[in-house]
Symmetry: C2
Subunit: 339 residues, 2 copies
């Protein structure tokens, strides 16, 4: 890896290639019923996956995504050198418990809902440095997340229109150094940005500024414009955050709207599914990446895309103490051809 | 970085050097009253540091450690390319809020009390890859951690003899690529190990197996024995975990006891200070590393040491659900001369 301007890492260049060797997405029933349902490798029949607790259900989704990515890549666990994982639960505990079964050196990552881009960038850096396979895995689960961050499901609280729906989903990428599509080209690491948002039910607004900052730095550091990409996928700003992001770019004369889409808006059909402003959670962008975006890049349907996962670095404790919610977004550039 | 056997990364070799450019430790009053009190760069008069909440007090400790490490290294924030930080609080929130003030690309790390070794290894990898300065920062605070993991302080619960005392402390290393002591030689990334311990008041026992595993792999992967080091510092196994670790090594015919010490046992005077089995928390090993160990390596008092921070990947939710507590330990080899 070599560093360009602030925060941008080069993964694939003239001398080295870093690519996604294989990938898989495992999702819950509701996500399977959504518009991308047919793209996922595994759709569960319910939210429990035969486990006694939501936390264990979520661990199982991570495990499924990892095992399927290995199988699709004709690898075994022994072939993977480092395991980067993260989730939303306190103490990143779902990831720790799934890593416990892997017997692979583990580095826990936390970037809230931006974690898929963070783990992917880290796995890419370690693959390049070690010429080895690395795993990048994240997950979320509606029932475990709602209880922890807002209210227990049984409480039946009414959610405001700005609220997003935490996806029950997991995604896994196995990175390697083969000279093949999809290539991990570059990554721009997020800087924490705070828009002063204090409403835990308006994550999109809290994250939009961070996505704007990271995408802007990526354009500047790589001398590109939005029109150089045929897809800019934020995840998971939802409707509220996506609108703010596009406005921020239009104000400075850059228009991303023709190539922009948001994983939180793609995962569900908002006319049919009651998800309010869209999907969210580490597993939201992870499953859209591994189910829909990466196959598109691999086949050449997408030539060059940006995956800009977004996270609200929210703590219920800090929010209760009156603090605003900082956001972060990590950007990974993924290409069909080596550039 | 190049990879040797499972999980060991080489940072300094014939072609490249990675070193700790500067470092600083900031601690609370009780830690300042302990046997290492005079080694720390900053000792607060109380636990609050003038802040209205314990979480903000802890954020301030991180900020102090970072600012002092910059000053001691004659750097400014603009000189630092990546900011790796972590802590024990839910959603790694203290680190996110301290990163918010830094304006530096941020990668949140979570390895429970092993996080200082994790951030240091990651900062070393990124310094080497980018030929740049990177920050590795962790913290903990007795009052914020006790409330979250066990009971609020005001409850006055009686702590069992196996319990450890979460240190109010923070440490920061700025890594770089200068050819100077202390060198970051190698790092062995931890594999999650579970000894079946279910008692949230016996973290030492939960972590000892992970320390044993990572140290064993480090010895094997680097063809070294305990006698090649003049210090093996685990942190923070406390008395219970340290005894288990030494026994595990003796069983296989390797004796680490002549060079072993534990950050949790070094930070406090257990005859005078009521800390039961010893200190713990991300800030415990971080402050002992930055206050005591690194100056020793820099001066040549220590020629070659292992810093093996240990973490209990505990979640109160999982423990309440009857799950055992997995442990992890990351090992960083630090040397006075380039080897």
């Amino acid at each position: 890896m070599t560093q360009g301007k602030k925060g941008t890492i080069t993964l694939t260049d003239n001398e080295n290639t870093v690519s996604v060797h294989s990938y898989a997405a495992a999702v819950g029933k509701m996500e399977g019923d959504g518009p991308l349902g047919s793209y996922f490798d595994y759709v569960s029949k319910g939210a429990q996956l035969g486990e006694p607790t939501w936390e264990k259900s979520e661990s199982k989704l991570q495990k499924y995504a990892f095992d399927m990515a290995l199988r699709k890549g004709q690898l075994t666990r022994e072939d993977v050198s480092f395991y980067f994982a993260g989730d939303l639960l306190n103490q990143c505990t779902v990831s720790a418990y799934s890593a416990r079964e892997s017997n692979i050196p583990y580095l826990g990552q936390y970037g809230a809902c931006s974690t898929m881009a963070q783990t992917l960038a880290m796995a890419g850096v370690f693959s390049r440095g070690n010429n080895s396979y690395c795993a990048a895995i994240t997950s979320s689960h509606f029932c475990s997340a709602e209880r922890q961050f807002r209210f227990p499901i049984n409480y039946g609280g009414v959610r405001p229109p700005t609220a997003q729906w935490t996806a029950t989903a997991a995604g896994c990428c196995i990175t390697g150094t083969e000279d093949k599509s999809p290539y991990l080209s570059k990554a721009t690491i997020g800087i924490v940005r705070d828009m002063g948002e204090k409403d835990a039910n308006n994550m999109g607004a809290a994250m939009a500024g961070a996505a704007y900052d990271s995408l802007s730095r990526h354009f500047d550091n790589t001398n590109t414009t939005p029109s150089d990409y045929d897809g800019i996928f934020t995840g998971d700003l939802g409707q509220v955050g996506s609108d703010i992001l596009k406005e921020l770019f239009i104000k400075e004369g850059r228009d991303i709207s023709m190539v922009h889409n948001d994983c939180g808006l793609m995962l569900y059909d908002r006319n049919e599914q009651d998800v309010h402003a869209g999907g969210s959670g580490c597993g939201c962008s992870a499953s859209v990446l591994c189910g829909y975006i990466l196959p598109g890049v691999e086949s050449g349907k997408f030539k060059r895309i940006l995956f800009a996962a977004t996270g609200a670095l929210m703590s219920t404790t800090f929010v209760q103490q009156g603090e605003s919610i900082p956001g972060i977004s990590h950007v990974v550039e993924i290409t069909h051809e080596r550039i």
